[in-house]
Every structure is written in C-alpha cells, then in structure tokens.
Amino acid sequence: MRKNGAVTLRPVLPWFKDGRAALRQLALAVLLLGVYAWSAAGTHLSISELLRGVPGLADIVARMVPPNFAILPKLAGPTIETVQISIWGTTLAVLFTIPLGLAAARNLSPHPLVYGLARFVLNATRSISEIIFALIFVAAVGLGPFPGVLALAFHSVGMLGKFLAEAIENIDAGPVEALVATGASKWQVIRYAVVPQILPEFVTLCLYRWELNFRSATILGIVGAGGIGFELVTSMRLFQYQDMTTILIVILALVSVVDYVSSAIRAKII
C-alpha cells in the first residue's frame, strides 16, 4: 500500500444482487439467530450456572490427583480386552461392509431394489449408536466383550459401507470400460479395474474406523459390554477419583498408540 494514497476497496461481486436478495438474506440471518436462541432456552444454556459449577469442578479435579497407580496391574486385563474388542469389531465390520458397499454403489449394484435395500441397511446401522447396539447385544448374548464386538461391527458398517460405495462411484470409468470391452466378466472387472482404484482409500478408511472403534470400545463397558469402561464407571460410582485418573491416563496413552500404529500402517501401504 502506498504511503499517502487512499485505497479504495470494492467487492469483486456485488454483496447483494438486488433489494429482494438483501431482504432474503436478512430474513435468513434472523431465522438462524432465532434457532440459536430457541435452542439455548431449551438446553438451559447459562454462563452463570457454569460459573456456579466451577467450585464443584475444582473439588473433583482436586480429588482426582494424584493418580492412584497402584491399580495399574488390575487394569492390564480390561485394557487388553479393549484393544481386542476394537480389532474384531473393526474386522467384522470390514467383512460385512464389502458386499454391502458393492451393492450400494450405483454403478455396480445388480438391481435398483438391491441398491435401495443396501442403502437403507447402511443408513439404519449408521444412525444407531454403538451404545444402543451394545445394550441390545448385551440383552441378547449376555454381559462381556462379545456383545461389544458385535456393537462396534454393526455400527461401523454404516459408515464404512457408505464411504466404500462413494469411493466406488467416484472411480475412473475408463479402465472399467476398457475391461468390459475385452469381454471380461463382472467379477474380473471388479477385481482388476475397481479394486486397485479404491484400495488405498478403503484401507485408510478402515484404519480410521479402527481408531474410532478403539475410542468407542473404552466406553462400551459402561453398559456391560466389556473393556476398560467398566472399571471407569465402577471407580466413578465408588467415588474413587484417583483410580479414575489412572484409567483416563491409560486410555489416553492407548489412543495415542493406536493412532500411531494406524498412521504407520497407512504410510506403509500408500
């Protein structure tokens, strides 16, 4: 900018096309503000209440330190179980996802009905949270880590399948056309033209889902579906806040380890 010349600014495109557009945007802004105000009232959003809670919070934090590392040996079993739940929950999800994702990809689906059904299953499993699935499976197969595995698998399929189907829909159609032109069968076309194109994206996705599933596995214990979450909720109910701190530290450490392992695998594959 020059030292003493005034700089004139003007918009690249006019901010408002005309008076009616300006009015419409104003109305939209008012509507948005209204929604926020309404939701704030519904959720008792209040700064004063937050401030009033500060002493209580400080009290809990004070009781959380120092962490009680004496319980570490007792945590080893549930911790390992949490990792195992995440491994099988994710693997089962990947196995269920492959046929569903193929059926839910518009360019591969054998029939519009199959496509619609696959999309519905994916949407349904995605919209039910893993905790709700865990409650259902605990009721069905009893307490323990196995209902946790099933809960993760069923919930993960929704997201994995949706992204797999989208990855398939976004592939370059050229190689597919070329292979169809050679007379190759549908499965051969999938193997040679579709799989190589989606593999890096799908592997990345599965590893990311594994990270999410590990985090979910740490709370499944709250509803009795195995893992370290059971220890967490027990220590809270017994007001043993120092034990709780140790458990949180273990979870934090493990989440970091899982993230590290997953990104190391990703870097190797792609």
Binding site: E177, A178, T182, G183, A184, Y192
Partner: protein, 261 residues
C-alpha cells in the same frame, strides 16, 4: 467382416449420435473414421463391440449379431479396443494391464487371485515386446509416458488375439512423435497379421498417410467413403465444413456404464 445396417443411436438426452449408418468393412482393411468432434465416431465404434446399445439397426461381426446377448462376450473377446485416454489401470503393473486382455479367456477364480497360465504370461510379454516395452513390464502403469501408456493399451488389445482392433482417437492425447509411433504400430499389426483395424481420427494429414479407406462421418451420417487416402479439398469440406456447428455437440459424449457386462 463387419456389416452395419441402418444403425441409429439416440441418447437419453435426445442427442442423435447416429442417424442411419450403413457400412461394410472387409477383413484386413485399415479403415480411418474421419469427422469433427460430436460426429458420432466414438458411438459408432462402441456399437461394434456392444459398449453402446443402438436404438435401431443391426451390426454383425463375422456373421454374429452384436445385439444378441449370447454373442456379445464372444464378440468382445475377438475385438480389441484402444482408447483416447488409454484407460489403463494406473495402479497395476504394465504386465498386469496387458494380461487384462486375457481375462475373458481365463478362469474367473484363478484370475481373481492373479494366477494366469504360463503361456498367457509369456504371450503378454511377447505383446509388450512388439510395442517395444518389454523392459517396462514390471513397472506401474502410471510411471509411463502418455505414448508408452498407449502402446501398453495396444499390447492389451493384442493379448486378446483379436480379429479386429477398434481405436477411438488413439493419438488425440499424444505428441506428434508418439502419435506417429502408435499409428506405425497399428499399421504393422494390420499388415503383418492381416488384422482389420478401424481408427477414428480428426487429423486429416495423419489419415492421409495411413488409411487404406477413409469414411467421413458428419452429424451422425456417412458423408464420405473413399478407398484411397488422398482426399480432395471438397471432400474435406464435405466432412468438416461448418465445423463450428458440429463442435457444439462435443458435450454430448456418451457416458458408458457396464450394465450389460
């Protein structure tokens, strides 16, 4: 021999790509399809191997009707196709891409495990040798230059041991030297193997040097059929006159899906 009778194609958006084409191509011919963008060249080629279903008309390849489903896979096996954008599977190696030309002759289960008969692998290497790329066999396809990728495309077509090769604008994305090499390889295949080759081009000069027979297509209709490569200026005008009108249709290129794979 390819016999095309009354071929019409209208796409869902109302574009009339072909408006009644009659054409007979004898075995062993090197035929060039000439015409501006949107004239229907790609659609005509894709009707021959059933990638596009014609609205009306009939095509037979060596007596077998393309529109009869039981013949379709057989015809596709015997017809190699080469594309403007090469259409290689970029993340596979060159040899795997060439072996894609053998898939229709392979057991589905074994080929999905990437197991091929030793003879097929040897033949794929031989095909690569013919296009001068034997030493690139185990590189990933996307590491090759455009001209090399197109030669891999030709090797893939050769691996099918086809009777006919369709080439859809094979040199439109290449620099002049690579283009010359690709056209030279196609001519060698035509001469040495007696293979029928149909190439669509929009370069009149190239067509003049390689074609045995030139077919001019304009607005979906056949406007020129000449058994010589030398075109007079009025013949060029016949195909390309008012080029701007035809170029408007460029966006109407068919989206090919493999619903009838």
């Amino acid at each position: 021999m390819i016999a095309i009778r009354g071929l019409r194609k209208e796409f869902g958006n109302g574009t009339k790509a072909l408006r009644g084409v009659d054409l007979t191509v004898e075995c062993g011919q090197f035929l060039v399809l000439l015409g501006p963008s949107g004239a229907g060249k790609s659609t005509l080629l894709r009707c021959i191997n059933g990638l596009v279903q014609p609205t009306a008309g009939e095509i037979t390849v060596d007596g077998a009707a393309v529109h009869q489903l039981r013949h379709l896979t057989d015809i596709r096996r015997q017809v190699g196709m080469i594309f403007q954008q090469f259409n290689l599977v970029k993340r596979l190696t060159v040899i795997e891409n060439v072996l894609c030309g053998r898939l229709a002759h392979s057991n589905i289960f074994c080929s999905c495990l990437k197991l091929f008969p030793a003879a097929d692998i040897d033949f794929a290497l031989h095909c690569l040798d013919r296009v001068g790329l034997a030493e690139k066999a185990y590189q990933r396809a996307d590491q090759l230059s455009g001209g090399q990728q197109q030669r891999v495309g030709i090797a893939r077509a050769l691996a099918q041991k086809p009777r006919l090769i369709l080439a859809d604008e094979p040199v439109a994305s290449l620099d002049p030297r690579s283009a010359e090499r690709v056209m030279g390889i196609l001519r060698d295949i035509n001469r040495q193997d007696g293979m029928t080759v149909i190439v669509s081009l929009h370069n009149i000069e190239l067509a003049g040097r390689y074609a045995e027979r030139v077919i001019g297509l304009r607005d979906g209709a056949l406007v020129l059929d000449k058994r010589s490569s030398v075109l007079s200026s009025w013949e060029v005008e016949l195909v390309y006159g008012d080029y701007a009108d035809a170029a408007d249709d460029e966006g109407a290129f068919p989206q090919v899906t493999y619903a009838h794979a």
